[in-house]
């Protein structure tokens, strides 16, 4: 039964991805990307990764769709048509890379395999110690906030830096650049932060 859900969701994902590539209307493409994220979130839920699904639904389907729409309102919602000659070399490179990636998946452990290396490096240790060390029922929170506290702090700093970067690029509205007119008609930038 769960396999059927997987197949249906993956089929939808593939169909939507192809539709996004072929669409010229960027507004519709943004909407489809939101649906793509929501379907990914359902997929994560089926795979029992609820914390990831939560994030994907909130960030992928919610915030990034809004930001994309805000960007479209500043630019245009039609993709401009560019004629490009067919590039056989690029096609061959993409096909070869794709084939190599598919070939590499044969070496990967089966989905949900309990003997997979990823489940045995530090995970066993965490699962064993978590009740005595931390005593938090949600293991994901315990690992992210406590065992991996450094990484999570780094991630928070990344988000902060992203916010500061956008503020610098789009102008937080605080720095006022006055353009002083000189007598000879040329303008001169005089920056002043208020």
């Amino acid at each position: 039964m769960i396999d059927v859900i997987h197949i249906v969701l993956f089929t939808f994902l593939a169909v939507i991805a192809i539709a996004i590539i072929r669409l010229r209307d960027l507004f519709a493409a943004v909407m489809l990307m939101g649906i793509f994220s929501l379907l990914s979130a359902s997929l994560f839920t089926v795979m029992d990764a609820v914390d990831v699904a939560f994030t994907e639904a909130a960030v992928g389907a919610g915030i990034s769709t809004i930001l994309m729409l805000a960007t479209l309102s500043l630019t245009t919602s039609k993709e401009s048509r560019l004629y490009q000659r067919p590039q056989p070399l690029a096609l061959i490179a993409v096909l070869l890379t794709g084939a190599a990636l598919v070939y590499a998946t044969f070496d990967m452990p089966r989905y949900g395999d309990p003997a997979a290396p990823i489940h045995h490096h530090v995970a066993d240790d965490y699962i064993e110690r978590i009740d005595d060390d931390i005593g938090v029922p949600n293991m994901v929170t315990a690992i992210l906030a406590s065992y991996r506290g450094y990484d999570t702090w780094g991630e928070t700093t990344v988000i902060f830096t992203a916010g500061v970067g956008v503020m610098l690029l789009l102008g937080g509205g605080r720095t006022v650049y006055r353009i002083r007119r000189r007598k000879d008609g040329r303008s001169e930038d005089g920056g002043s932060a208020s």
Binding site: I63, V136, W153, E155, V166, G172
Partner: protein, 141 residues
């Protein structure tokens, strides 16, 4: 934005609930799915919904950009502050076990404050991003 009566009434009803849910996700993250990041994004989404429905100016009056700027940095510093507090208590950086007389209780306390820091930073960054994008060009976004 004077039209869209149904949307405005519905979002007036929904925004407090969304914010309440964000707080639930924030403080229930130890027990259920979620945590600071998800809670911050949900809270940011509530602010964005308010801005979409009632205009950017009203949203900026409710959530002044200067306060959001302060909160962006405050969240990161709160996280780091918990780490420094652990050092002052004689442990390693971000070792919450020394924060209380009982190590498990100390871990709970540390996770609570750390997640709060993440949530504050994420919510204010998300709202600031939207304000900046929407503030350019058309004024009625």
């Amino acid at each position: 934005m004077i039209r869209h009566v149904i949307l405005r009434v519905l979002s007036k009803l929904l925004i407090p609930l969304i914010m309440l849910f964000a707080l639930y996700v924030q403080f229930h993250g130890d027990y259920g799915p979620g945590g600071g990041f998800q809670a911050g994004v949900i809270f940011g989404a509530a602010i964005i919904l308010y801005a979409l429905m009632f205009g950017l100016e009203a949203a900026k009056r409710a959530f002044p950009p200067r306060v959001l700027e302060f909160l962006m940095a405050f969240g990161v510093l709160l996280y780091g502050g918990v780490g420094v507090a652990a050092i002052l208590e004689g442990g390693n950086f971000l070792d919450y076990s020394v924060l209380s007389h009982d190590p498990v209780h100390g871990q709970h306390l540390g996770i609570l404050f750390v997640e709060l820091g993440v949530g504050i930073t994420v919510a204010s960054v998300m709202a600031t991003l939207f304000f900046l994008f929407a503030g350019r060009g058309r004024a009625d976004v």
